[in-house]
Symmetry: C2
Subunit: 328 residues, 2 copies
């Protein structure tokens, strides 16, 4: 993974420079909101995936950077809107944009970033790029709606859960890889392989995220364990617990979820939720979720068989290892 | 104008049928929100402009309808988000979507409709269409931000006001006409003429809207006069009053605007604003705004000189007459 981190460290300043440059044209009322969400950091994973996919399929020029940045703008737009929906006050340890700039500028800055992301893809002149990202934005927003609709539902099925995380997370990573392939003039087989790689990587990425939320090691990173549960989100680690939980315990949990939905303050309910966090840990929910992620990682890596050997393909293979191993 | 209304009545059912059909694929959690805002009516002006422009420039087939509908979805997306921003509880006399479905589904349904509009344009395979609408969405959202930032500012300049209405209204009408021209394979001169027609028509459309808000005849339509003023919006009729108002009156108005910005209830302030509505009427603010609209209508009509003669060109000419003459 050392080589991937070196690659990432070399690319991040270039990606950030283009991200900054393209924001300079925005209206001064929108730009600070966009700059705020982009300055909050993030690994620039989506731009990096587009660059790696395009380069491994034979294209490497500076015109890839605006396409790579398109993905980061689209991702940032969803973060701006999501933090409003979730009522989140923090984003990566900094105040969420809507708490600083207000609801209206934040919604509209999200709309502007969605349009900017679309524009950068359209500017490349290949309508297939625009089709790919508009599909992925629809899927992302739909996944978010589904997640919100299922808040507090402990009878959520595994299939529903997978549909939600595929929508809200994996589709945009799929789009990053597929757009990279399209931009490189890939064959249909390579394009499909790139899409499969991105989708399965994205599902694994979210599974690990959801495992980390129940992982005791997460507290080392200064984040609370069980935050998803307190938001009423039913994720895979909890599903592993639920499939073998005694009926009486499930009833208690359903009651707590009902109180959450009725608007009881999560902080007040936290002590009552705490035993369930321990029960998920006791049944190995986080570890089993990481195991499930490994399955998707395996199919993601297998998809890369369609790619020619080379340095960037190696990086894509390292990326799958990184996703499973990460601790925060 | 009779011929235009006949044309519109013939097209509306076809446009509505395609609008309905394309919504059918949306997730059941998003679809009702989208259906609600689309069912609220509207004249389908933007789809009609795309159809008329494309047909007058020589293309006429059923594949134009998804492109025409794209514009209506984009427009509906902005309505969903705007009603949240404005805190509006009614939209065309029916409850605004966010009051029925909640904040999160409404923001996300807006995002889905933005993506659907982009997708329909991208599906046509010409990236210039996607560039055109992504630019117009950026301009529309930016215009909205500017309008919100200027709420209550009675020192707003005419140039700032025109920039706001050009962004929030005219850009999308410009995109409708320009996309129609692109889809028809128009010459660059024709495409520029179509864009100019749409932009100036859009500015005139909003000027008449702003005039109607101070127009006594509006009460016949059951709408309150002076609603913009109660929202702190400084529009052209008010600017005509302000340019000749005594300093003492301006000071009172500035004080009222400050109270609005501080959160005083508009209903309570309404009696204090009422004399200013009368003063705008007394100085002919609404009529002068209609006169200004006529100037834009003139340049819009002149742009059509680049179009070949024909039935659809006649309709586009009738549309400009309709915009100025409408009473609600």
């Amino acid at each position: 993974m050392h080589a991937l981190l070196q690659y990432l460290q070399a690319e991040q300043p270039r990606i950030n420079a283009v991200l900054d440059r393209l924001l300079a044209d925005l209206n001064p009322l929108v730009r600070p909101v966009a700059e705020h969400v982009l300055a909050a950091g993030g690994k620039r994973l989506r731009p990096l995936l587009l660059l790696l996919t395009a380069r491994s399929l034979g294209r490497d020029d500076d015109a890839l950077y605006p396409l790579a940045c398109s993905l980061e703008y689209l991702h940032s737009a969803t973060l701006l809107h999501d933090d409003i929906l979730d009522g989140a006050v923090l984003r990566r340890g900094r105040p969420a944009a809507h708490t600083l700039f207000g609801l209206a500028p934040t919604i509209l800055a999200g709309d502007v970033l969605l349009a900017l992301g679309n524009r950068l893809m359209a500017d490349a002149g290949d309508a297939r790029l625009a089709v790919c990202i508009s599909k992925s934005i629809m899927a992302t927003a739909t996944g978010e709606v589904q997640e919100i609709a299922q808040v507090g539902n402990i009878n959520l099925t595994l299939a529903d859960y997978l549909e939600i995380i595929t929508g809200k997370t994996a589709w945009l990573l799929q789009a990053a890889c597929q757009c990279g392939a399209i931009a490189a003039g890939a064959t249909p087989v390579q394009e499909a392989a790139a899409a499969r790689y991105g989708l399965d990587l994205g599902i694994a990425f979210q599974l690990v995220d959801d495992a980390l939320d129940y992982d005791a090691t997460r507290e080392k990173a200064g984040k609370p364990v069980g935050a998803d549960l307190l938001e009423g989100k039913v994720t895979m680690p909890l599903l592993f617990y639920l499939e073998q939980a005694p009926a009486a315990e499930k009833e208690v949990l359903a009651g707590l979820m009902a109180r959450l939905r009725q608007g009881d303050a999560p902080e007040q309910l936290a002590p009552l939720f705490a035993p369930f966090v321990q029960r998920v840990a006791a049944c190995g929910g986080a570890q089993k979720t990481r195991d499930a992620a490994r399955e998707y990682i395996r199919t993601a890596a297998a998809a890369l068989d369609a790619f020619p050997a080379g340095r960037e393909k190696d990086m894509l293979l390292e990326a799958v290892a990184y996703v499973v191993a990460r601790e925060r």
